[in-house]
Amino acid sequence: MAIQGVRTEHLDRAFSALADPTRRSILARLAAGKATVSQLMEPFELTQPTISKHLRVLEVAGFIEHGRDAQRRPRKLVALAFKDVADWIEPFRRQWEGRFNNLDGYLATMKKKER
C-alpha cells in the first residue's frame, strides 16, 4: 500500500509538471539534445528566471537533470522518469487509439451501406 502511495504521488507530480505547455515544449526541445538555460531562453522568448522556474519544476518531477559542467550546467532528459509516465498511460492510449482507428474505418463502411 505504502509503495503504491509513493508511486501515485510521483505520477501526480509528473503529470502536474506536464500540464504546462511551456514545460512540455522545453521537454520536447531537450528530447533533441541537452541545452543550457541560455540556449533555452532564445526559442521560448522567456526571461532567465521564468525558464529557471520551469526547469526547477521539471527537475523536482524527475524529468530532467543537470550536466556535470559547473559553469553552464546543461539540462538533459532523464529517460527513466518518462518511462514511469509512459508505462502507466501508453497501453491505455494505444487501446483507445486502436478503438478510434476502428471507428474511423467503420464510419466509412457505414456510409457505403446507407447510400
Binding site: Q4, T8, L11, D12, F15, S16, L18, A19, P21, R24, S25, L27, A28, A31, A79, F82, K83, V85, A86, D87, W88, I89, E90, P91, F92, R93, R94, Q95, W96, E97, G98, R99, F100, N101, N102, L103, D104, G105, Y106, L107, A108, M110, K111, R115
Partner: protein
C-alpha cells in the same frame, strides 16, 4: 462524396491528474449524427469497440437515461459496462462505467467532427485503476516511444 481520406492516426490524450480526468480527442471526417449512431446502436458498437478489431461477443444497449449497456470483447476478463446518464443526439452522450463518468462530446469544427471523450474518476487511485483495467500490462517502452508520447501531448 469523395472517398474518406485516411489521415495519420491521431488521438490526442491529455491527463489531468489534479482533476482525475483523462481527455481523448480525435477528429473524424464523418458527420456527428453518424458518429453518435455508431456509439449508440449495438450492431455498430460491436464492430469497432474492440481495440484489436474483433467483433464483440456481447453488446447490449438500453438507450435511455438509467438504461444499461454491456460490451464484451472476445477473450476479455472485464466487460465494459454501466448505465447511460444523458442521451443528447448528436452532440452529447454521458454514461457511468466502472465507477467513473464518461462523456462523449461531438462538435463540428470546419466541416469535420471533433470527438472528445472525457473520463472522470473520483480519486487518483480510481484513475489508476481505470487506466490499468483491461489493458495488457508489462509492455516495456523505449526512449523513442517516450519522446513520441511527449510529442502527442504537445498538440
Amino acid at each position: 462524396m469523395p472517398p474518406q481520406r485516411k489521415v495519420q492516426a491521431e488521438t490526442n490524450i491529455v491527463v489531468d491528474r489534479d482533476a482525475n480526468k483523462i481527455m481523448l480527442t480525435r477528429t473524424f471526417a464523418a458527420p456527428r449524427e453518424q458518429i453518435f449512431e455508431a456509439w449508440t446502436r449495438p450492431e455498430h458498437v460491436a464492430c469497432w469497440w474492440d481495440p484489436a478489431g474483433f467483433r464483440l461477443v456481447e453488446c447490449e444497449i438500453d438507450l435511455r437515461p438509467g438504461g444499461a449497456f454491456r460490451f464484451v470483447s472476445q477473450g476479455s476478463t472485464y466487460p465494459f459496462s454501466g448505465f447511460y446518464r444523458e442521451i443528447a443526439p448528436p452532440a452529447r452522450l454521458i454514461f457511468e462505467a466502472m465507477g467513473s463518468l464518461g462523456k462523449v462530446a461531438l462538435n463540428v469544427v470546419s466541416g469535420k467532427t471533433v470527438m472528445t471523450v472525457t473520463i472522470e474518476c473520483g480519486s487518483s487511485a480510481q484513475l489508476d485503476q481505470f487506466v490499468k483495467m483491461g489493458v495488457d500490462v508489462g509492455t516495456s517502452q523505449t526512449l523513442d516511444n517516450l519522446v513520441a508520447y511527449v510529442g502527442t501531448m504537445l498538440q
